[in-house]
Symmetry: C2
Subunit: 201 residues, 2 copies
């Protein structure tokens, strides 16, 4: 479905990892449009020619970053859903790991959530497909909890949206040195998610 | 405390309003750093010289936008708190109007929340002071609800953070033409806020 095959993260060279880190930092700090490939190459300690060997455009770089990040998010959601048959425990795990990821990876997550408008339409469609799965699978979990009598909410879809949205926005306000740890935020947010769906103990 | 007096919105000329609208649109679409004062002047149908008569820099323009937006948010929070003695009804009103503002003014709100890093330190401090009041007064309301036995939450500060965060993030995912109206989102979010604080009926 992707117009470019998703790269195998494990196989990435150190130089390539440096390149992605430099691009994430630059996009998060100055925004996609104000960043040049030359800035990114310099920050990664590479020549512009070396960068072009990997990526023809900075949009392609943003695309790879966006796909990786959303694949990680989707994997966390799926792992959480598979972790417990009980929808209460599965949702607790989902909200916890989703919030924790957005706290610990807040710089990457800002790029994933605020720079998507810069993607080419075909690339945006690939990312939106992953986002659709994240939303859809979270919603399906909440709906199952309602059907099984474990949750009580007037709108399972909005409840799922609110839980994902809470997690995403952690990346905006959280940073290292915050007086709360990522773990404390994740613990509170796991409980908040259960409250939002009206989990019945 | 502000280094520039806050402008009187009612006294703004039509040209000035067009200027702010053009700047908000440009900052939201391409980011602050990739926008030039020339772009903004052109979008507002002004000459660059006319723009410079009002603002010497685009940073000053961002500052005025950020102050106006945060003053509006703070006013909504204060009105809600003053609207009811009962903390349940006051928090319902607060979460409702805060979410509704971030849905209906989503383009402005994106600039308010994602472009602040571009402000000069003194201007950032002015905006942060308004943000501090928004957080502090919301937290004080939740704490009062806990003291009065109306709310039950293990952490009033995190609960207040989550309620404000939920409202802010509406600006990221909401847009006109969404299958939910701003009113529907606000209604659900008002209820979600009461659930997060464990409102006891």
């Amino acid at each position: 479905m992707n117009s470019t095959p998703t790269p195998d993260v494990a196989a990435w060279s150190e130089g390539r990892s440096r390149l992605y880190e430099a691009a994430i930092e630059a996009f998060a700090t100055r925004g996609f449009h104000a960043t040049t490939t030359r800035d990114i190459a310099a920050a990664a300690g590479m020549s512009p020619a070396a960068l072009y060997a990997h990526h023809r455009t900075k949009e392609e770089l943003l695309y790879v970053i966006a796909m990786r990040g959303h694949e990680t998010s989707l994997a966390l959601v799926r792992q959480a859903i598979a972790s417990h048959d009980d929808p209460v425990e599965a949702l607790r795990e989902l909200a916890h790991s989703f919030a924790e990821f957005h706290a610990t990876s807040h710089t990457t997550a800002r790029v994933l959530n605020y720079e998507l408008a810069a993607l080419a339409p075909a690339h945006r469609a690939d990312v939106d497909e992953l986002r659709h799965h994240i939303d859809h699978e979270t919603r399906a979990l909440v709906q199952r909890g309602v059907r099984e009598g474990a949750f009580a909410t007037p709108n399972a879809t909005m409840a799922a949206t609110a839980i994902i949205s809470l997690g995403v926005d952690v990346a905006r306000w959280f940073s290292e040195g915050h007086h709360w740890t990522a773990q404390q935020v994740a613990d509170f947010y796991a409980d908040a998610a259960l409250r939002i769906v009206g989990a019945v103990r």
